[in-house]
Symmetry: C2
Subunit: 485 residues, 2 copies
């Protein structure tokens, strides 16, 4: 703290020593104009002197015109030097580069209606915290810390906590992925995974294939990095392969990656069929376009279909970078995801991760590893599959009953995606907001915000009563809106 | 898991059902060539059938030429479709962009001699984990979790955990910083703080002033982003202000930022005097060049000098972005740092942080907040100041005694920086390595690796015996080396 090194002697009144010390500092220019001084209480504690002595010193300094007080703000220095009188005012808005501008302009937290206590909000697709098993988490924390001690608290490796990496390699292997010549990098969630891959292997102006609509955060990351998005429509029949082939023909050599979310796709909730996974994989392989596979909510299989990640098709090759994350359903606050890819690709990404922020919290990685390997995650997953599955089915039925629609997308997951008939969902949102219900307007998921009659309903944090009440209100509001052609 | 959705009926032998299911999948192309199948043990568990049934099914599939086993790797599919026969091999090395290349080329973990068990290593300046108070950490974890519950485990705010932000604003205020119109963003340590600031407010080709030598990670981040570094020498008299004025004159309008570490500067360990802080601040202010202040190890004040961060000079202005971090001395594994700056600047950085990785682990932020506010950090800091202070003094004496040198830099902190007389410290390092001692060669801290006679000695994790033994060996080795002119 400022002034904490003043040494008080016993030969002089204390307030005089304090006064002289501060006044010297100010007059020498060692405390600049308008510097905030400690409060009298603080300074008396730091110097271990009575508060009266400090108060007296401050009074005299005020009388000398060297300091001044502002009510509610504190006490400040006032030198007569003109050097530091003028304020220095930088316009940080103008200092932003294009990357920051996109990240700010597309920040839905800043731009969309915020959650409020009295709203029924279908905006969120984050998991329901009431389902978290906190006691298991505590057990894992205490167990891991007693096993590893301060090692979990000191610097670790950029690639991640080794036991967690090995666990995840085995976990991916159970999904049918051959992990020979593959490796894993632990990231701060899916978001960092995608950002680090694109930041390492693309340059501004490169083209990238993606589903349209797709995850708004992914659109933001790609646009912020200056990538040009080639959107392939998802409609009632799934991905539009005809359009894909046309685009491949047109942009072929310029395309750096294809980004795809085959399971519980955000926002549509659709699950790509095994046939289409196979078709998509071979199309990319034949065009030599590496795939970034978003394993979004893959763990949350309610349906009976047989599903394998696309990267399990790539077993003896290295054309797919897979991004996984438990945190869409488990402890998102801990921010842990992973990238599975070719060993050489991971080695490149590892150094980029180190350059960005050294590594993901080793404490969190240790806790998560313990939680996974002791079986707590498996128990949790069984519980939430049923919990969210029941909600999904209920929400689906409510939509069928209450909301006139053109199509309901969604094979499972934590949300439904609706296509309405000639309804502007921004207009609908404003009307619903007045009635205490909000949802995510679908336009944010389209690469040019070009579709205005869709909406996403996230139900993970709502009760059955709220789901029905909210969906009913949305349905009623639609009927009040003018129909457009 | 692959195959987990096979439904077994009771009318047919189980192995026949398994065989037919897998063979259909393979022949339809739904399991591609060379896919790994679950082991017989795994599949029998998943399907809840006897292992013998699975083994029998696999035997028959092998006999049909549809699957094959590789010893030690598992069982794989072998379709006759030619579509997927060829491997797809991407050269990820070549796919890297220039950003990844710099991050990889300058990754000292990949390029410098690694730590080994039997070495006396002066390379590290990370804190000594034995000093961490694990019991206090446990208390904070349990207390915070019982107060906040699942809120700490679900998505939080990009800016950070509010109680921690408020604590840090108060903490900075005690350092003499007026926090009016300032705000804080929590980052994954100092590294992410610097990267996010530069990623938001600079563009490739911009000029930036920095000390030379300076923190190698900072050089890496700046170069990876394509910034042009204007190095200002630090010598026995501190920062070379004459050179600074020359460079300001020459590059004035092109300079976007000045990056500076005024306390326990890495690698030199020097502390900038209050007079020079004041001079530097006003020089930048008068040239309208915003300052990024690295608060590196500021908490570790052993000396009696009166120190305030440069940003305390900026109280009514907004020209300084300050980066703080406890994690250089406390729990670096948790990766928590912060940026203090103008509110508007923080708002921009907040969206960039959200775009990069949503936010820092709320669990870790909660634990750290609890640890700080209950007084555990204050106790810890008192203990380590003495612990590291004693080591610093001891190491300093050992260097004076054993190592012929031109100059010893260092006013405190966790390391010393030595300038040797006509000795190539890379050559010295190789010789010392043979004798079981390593250190950090100084060239990595110079912006063009242009100085080859310096070295950094980190002593934080070494015992007094190791410090003396290691320094003695370095000194002896120097005497064996040929002197250059």
């Amino acid at each position: 703290m400022l002034l904490s090194n003043l040494v008080i002697n016993k030969d002089e009144p204390i307030y005089i020593q304090i006064k002289r010390y501060i006044s010297n500092m100010i007059l020498k220019g060692l405390i600049p104009n308008n510097s905030k001084l400690p409060s009298t209480r603080e300074l008396s504690q730091v110097l271990n002197v009575s508060r009266n002595s400090v108060t007296l010193a401050y009074e005299e300094l005020k009388a000398d015109g060297l300091i001044y007080s502002v009510s509610g703000k504190g006490t400040f220095t006032k030198s007569n030097s003109s050097l530091n009188q003028s304020n220095w005012c930088i316009n940080w808005e103008d200092k932003q580069n294009s990357y920051s501008k996109v990240a700010n302009d597309m920040d839905i937290i800043k731009n969309e209606i915020p959650w409020e206590n009295n709203l029924i909000s279908f905006k969120s697709i984050s998991p329901n915290g009431d389902m978290f098993d906190i006691d298991e988490l505590k057990k894992s924390f205490l167990n891991r810390l007693s096993l590893e001690g301060h090692k979990l608290l000191n610097y670790g490796y950029a690639k991640g906590y080794k036991p967690l990496i090995e666990y995840l390699l085995e976990y991916m292997s159970k999904k049918g992925v051959d992990t020979y010549n593959k490796d894993i990098l632990i990231t701060n969630g899916f978001t960092e995974g995608l950002d680090i891959i694109l930041s390492s292997f693309t340059s501004s102006g490169d083209y990238i294939i993606c589903e349209n609509p797709t995850h708004n955060t992914s659109i933001k990351i790609m646009k912020a990095l200056g990538l040009k998005l080639i959107g392939i429509d998802i409609n009632e029949n799934g991905l539009d392969f005809d359009l894909l082939e046309v685009k491949l023909e047109k942009y072929k050599d310029k395309i750096k990656f294809a980004y795809i979310t085959p399971s519980y796709h955000n926002p549509t909730g659709t699950v790509m069929s095994p046939e289409n996974r196979y078709k998509f994989y071979n199309l990319m392989k034949n065009n030599n376009i590496p795939i970034i596979e978003d394993g979004f909510n893959e763990e949350l299989l309610y349906s009976s279909s047989h599903i394998f990640p696309i990267c399990s098709l790539d077993n003896l090759s290295n054309g797919i970078i897979y991004i996984g994350s438990f945190s869409k359903i488990l402890f998102p606050g801990m921010r842990i995801g992973w990238i599975l890819a070719d060993k050489n690709a991971i080695s490149k990404l590892e150094s980029v991760k180190r350059c960005r922020n050294i590594h993901v919290s080793f404490l969190d990685q240790g806790i998560l590893y313990d939680y996974l390997q002791n079986g707590a995650f498996e128990k949790y997953i069984k519980k939430v599959r049923k919990f969210y599955g029941d909600k999904f089915n209920f929400a689906y039925k409510c939509v069928e009953k209450y909301i006139p629609n053109e199509y309901i997308f969604g094979d499972g997951g934590l949300h439904l995606f609706l296509k309405l008939k000639n309804i502007d969902t921004r207009e609908l949102l404003n009307k619903c907001y007045e009635k205490g219900v909000i949802f995510m307007p679908g336009d944010i998921f389209y690469i040019n915000n070009e579709v205005n009659n869709t909406l996403r309903l996230g139900f993970s944090r709502l009760s059955f009563e709220e789901i029905e009440k909210g969906i009913k209100i949305i349905g009623e509001t639609i009927k009040e809106l003018p129909i457009k052609d």
